[in-house]
């Protein structure tokens, strides 16, 4: 699990790779620096937990995971993917929080004939025109979750909606998703600067929301931006006036901070997701309780998806009994989705995105008073993304 140090260049150059017993090598690209590092840490913790639980073995082989930091930038993510593929010669490239990083890196991994598994990013292009036989997702296609939320808005009788999303690949997908199912009028839409130098002060936008006459506000602000947004939403006096609906924003990464600050406005706020810590499946019970025991906090959906990633890879390597050259065998195994998933039993569409349920979540305190999300109802059963039909596999 230690990074291969390119450092001692000469020494490394002279050393011949000891090729007796092959290990399963997994490159895991995530964000370990910048403010988004908190997401990366959650994923890293989940991967380590999963490895611990499987005893660091898959199909009888030892497992090496090499974590790489994308620095929240597509370009760096791509460079790191190149390095994993060319220098470390990994068997699987996994991870990827950000859709733009995934899109930039896809060619590097897939052209080299590696398996690529997205543990979060669900760029719709990957589900449609860029779908690939060696690409799998353990998360969702971006527009599925906001589409589910759009249905909820319709049911609640929302007529005028204001949309705020970051200006990058996933933000655009999220906005398109909610626009697809929401039947009322979109009275305003702001796309704010994202990335390493993301906009975090939303004063001008919130003033517009306030003046827009909307009866609901839809947002997608993953990571730390979510906490900042909700604070300012309260400071602007919008609580109780324009209800907040979110996707991938109110999660166990932002909630502890909000609770620490006693921002009660978030209690009762609703969002859509394929998963919640209280989702009642055997694997999820095991995952959430062991994660909490080990790290002392709730896992986020990023963690859940990363945990699934390891078990998906294990199912592939187990199926070919450690013969890592048997790409076809491993692919066939993964296509069956025959592994214990936190979301319960599910199957893959032909674009290798899960066909799965989506739930309505609400923020509530748990038995110990810790704020978390709880499932209210099921919005979609076995929902497949709309881009699958564009996939030529």
């Amino acid at each position: 699990m230690k990074r291969i140090v390119v450092a001692v260049a000469l020494a490394a150059m002279l050393a011949t790779p000891a090729a007796f017993a092959r290990n399963v090598k997994i490159g895991f690209v995530t964000t370990l620096t910048t403010g988004a590092a908190v997401i990366g840490r959650d994923m890293q913790d989940a991967v380590n937990l999963a490895l611990e639980q499987i005893g660091g073995k898959m199909g009888g082989l030892d497992v090496d995971v090499i974590f790489e930091d994308d620095g929240f930038k597509p370009e760096i993510g791509k460079q790191k993917t190149d390095k994993l593929v060319k220098s470390d010669d990994v068997d699987f490239v996994a991870g990827y929080i950000w859709s733009n990083v995934l899109l930039a890196s896809r060619k590097s991994a897939l052209d080299a004939g590696k398996f690529m598994i997205s543990s979060n990013a669900g760029a719709s292009q990957m589900a449609g025109k860029f779908c690939n036989k060696n690409f799998f997702s353990t998360s969702w296609e971006n527009s599925q979750t906001p589409m589910a939320l759009g249905e909820v808005l319709n049911r609640k009788g929302v007529k005028k909606l204001y949309i705020m999303v970051p200006n990058y690949a996933a933000g655009k997908n999220m906005a398109t998703g909610v626009e697809r199912t929401f039947k009322g009028e979109i009275v305003g839409k702001d796309m704010t600067k994202w990335g390493k130098s993301a906009q975090l002060d939303f004063s001008a936008e919130l003033s517009k929301v306030k003046a827009s006459g909307a009866d609901a506000l839809f947002i997608f602000y993953p990571g730390k931006a979510g906490g900042a947004f909700i604070k300012q939403y309260e400071q602007a006096g919008l609580v109780g006036k324009i209800p907040l609906y979110s996707v991938f924003t109110v999660d166990s990464i932002s909630l502890p901070k909000l609770q620490k600050g006693n921002l009660k406005g978030v209690l009762g706020s609703q969002s859509a997701s394929f998963w919640s810590p209280d989702l009642d499946t055997p694997q999820n019970r095991k995952f959430v309780s062991s994660f909490k025991a080990k790290y002392g906090r709730y896992p986020s959906f990023y963690a859940a998806q990363s945990y699934d990633t390891i078990f998906l890879i294990k199912s592939a390597v187990d199926a070919v009994k450690g013969n890592l050259d048997d790409m076809d065998g491993m692919r066939a195994a993964m296509e069956k989705a025959d592994f214990p998933s936190v979301r319960g039993k599910f199957r893959y569409g032909r674009n290798h995105f899960p066909i799965q349920n989506f739930y309505l979540l609400q923020v509530e305190p748990d038995a110990d008073g810790v704020w978390t999300t709880k499932i209210v109802e099921t919005i979609y059963k076995d929902h497949q993304d709309i881009y699958a039909s564009k996939c030529k596999l």
Binding site: T33, G35, M191, Q199, D201, S207, K208, Q235, G261
Partner: protein, 307 residues
């Protein structure tokens, strides 16, 4: 156009302007008097935010956090000046740019080591978390009004310091003619250290004020630094008055651009193109402004006299 919205956007612009002024005041003095290009000035903004957040969480009081963070910033400023900056006053701008670029890396990674990558935030006391009616029909967050008030007070204080005190006289003289002040037998080294640390404190205060709105995070100083540089160039290097006016102008342009540009662009572009390009184009406005001003008035709007 909706007039209540216009008023709240003007206030938002004012609030951003005030913040920029706090940053620009120190930077313009350091550049004007010591002729030092300090790219690491944004780091003081970041460190101020982290210190204030830490103290506030620790003592459970925003006011105490502020009061403790200010002297801490003074210390950070003095130490930075003594260790690194002082040795670079006589070097050319290139060396200064590089060394302060190095300082940015050091500050960023130190913060990463001490506070971790996650960023730090805290919540305002309930009194400050509400809204207040500033004009009939216009509600505005109390805390943002407070920022405007604090910023204007600091501006006034700085004006009095520079215009009415002996230190201020030296600072003014230093901005106009640094060599002369040295020749007068003033302890120029101490004066420089003082001015540098004052700048660090002001930048720190800006960070402290913004922390409860956004949060203290690594790299927060990098983006604001570039905008601050734009402000001091527009205002004229070394001029506090120029910086003040330029900060207000830039704050307003940025906010109004963010609020109205997409609607304007929709007149000429498709909806989607307008939505995605508006944020970028509004960010560009201030650079266009700077280039135009530099072209017609290479010394900025209010260059200190006799330079």
């Amino acid at each position: 156009m909706n007039s209540t919205l216009v008023i709240s956007q003007l206030l938002n612009g004012l609030q951003l302007g005030v913040l920029l002024f706090l940053l620009a005041a120190g930077l313009t003095l350091v550049l004007g008097i010591m002729n030092f290009v300090n790219l690491a000035h944004g780091s003081f903004y970041m460190v101020g935010a982290y210190l204030c957040a830490t103290f506030t969480l620790w003592l459970d009081s925003f006011l105490l956090g502020l009061l403790l963070a200010i002297p801490a910033m003074l210390l950070v400023g003095v130490v930075t000046e003594l260790l690194v900056v002082r040795h670079l006053y006589r070097r050319d701008h290139l060396d200064q740019v590089l060394a302060s670029f190095g300082l940015i890396l050091v500050f960023d990674s130190t913060v990463h080591m001490v506070w971790g990558p996650a960023g730090l935030t805290f919540v305002l006391p309930a009194v400050l978390n509400g809204q207040v009616t500033v004009f009939p029909g216009v509600e505005f967050p109390v805390y943002r009004l407070l920022i405007i008030a604090v910023g204007l007070l600091v501006a006034l204080g700085l004006y009095l310091l520079v215009a009415r005190t002996r230190v201020g006289m030296l600072i003014r003289a230093g901005a106009a003619n640094p060599v002369m002040v040295g020749a007068l037998g003033v302890d120029i080294k101490t004066l420089f250290t003082l001015v540098f640390a004052l700048g660090a404190v002001l930048a720190g205060i800006a960070g402290m004020l913004i922390a409860p709105i956004t949060e203290a995070s690594i790299g927060m100083g990098k983006d604001i630094l570039i905008i601050t540089l734009v402000v001091i160039i527009i205002g004229g290097i070394g001029s506090i008055r120029g910086s003040f006016i330029a900060a207000m102008v830039v704050g307003l342009i940025d906010t109004l651009g963010r609020s109205y540009l997409d609607d304007l662009l929709k007149l000429v572009l498709s909806n989607q193109a307008a939505e995605t390009s508006a944020p970028a184009i509004s960010s560009m406005l201030i650079y266009i402004l700077m280039a135009v001003i530099l072209y017609f008035r290479p010394e900025g709007l209010f260059p200190p006299r006799s330079r």
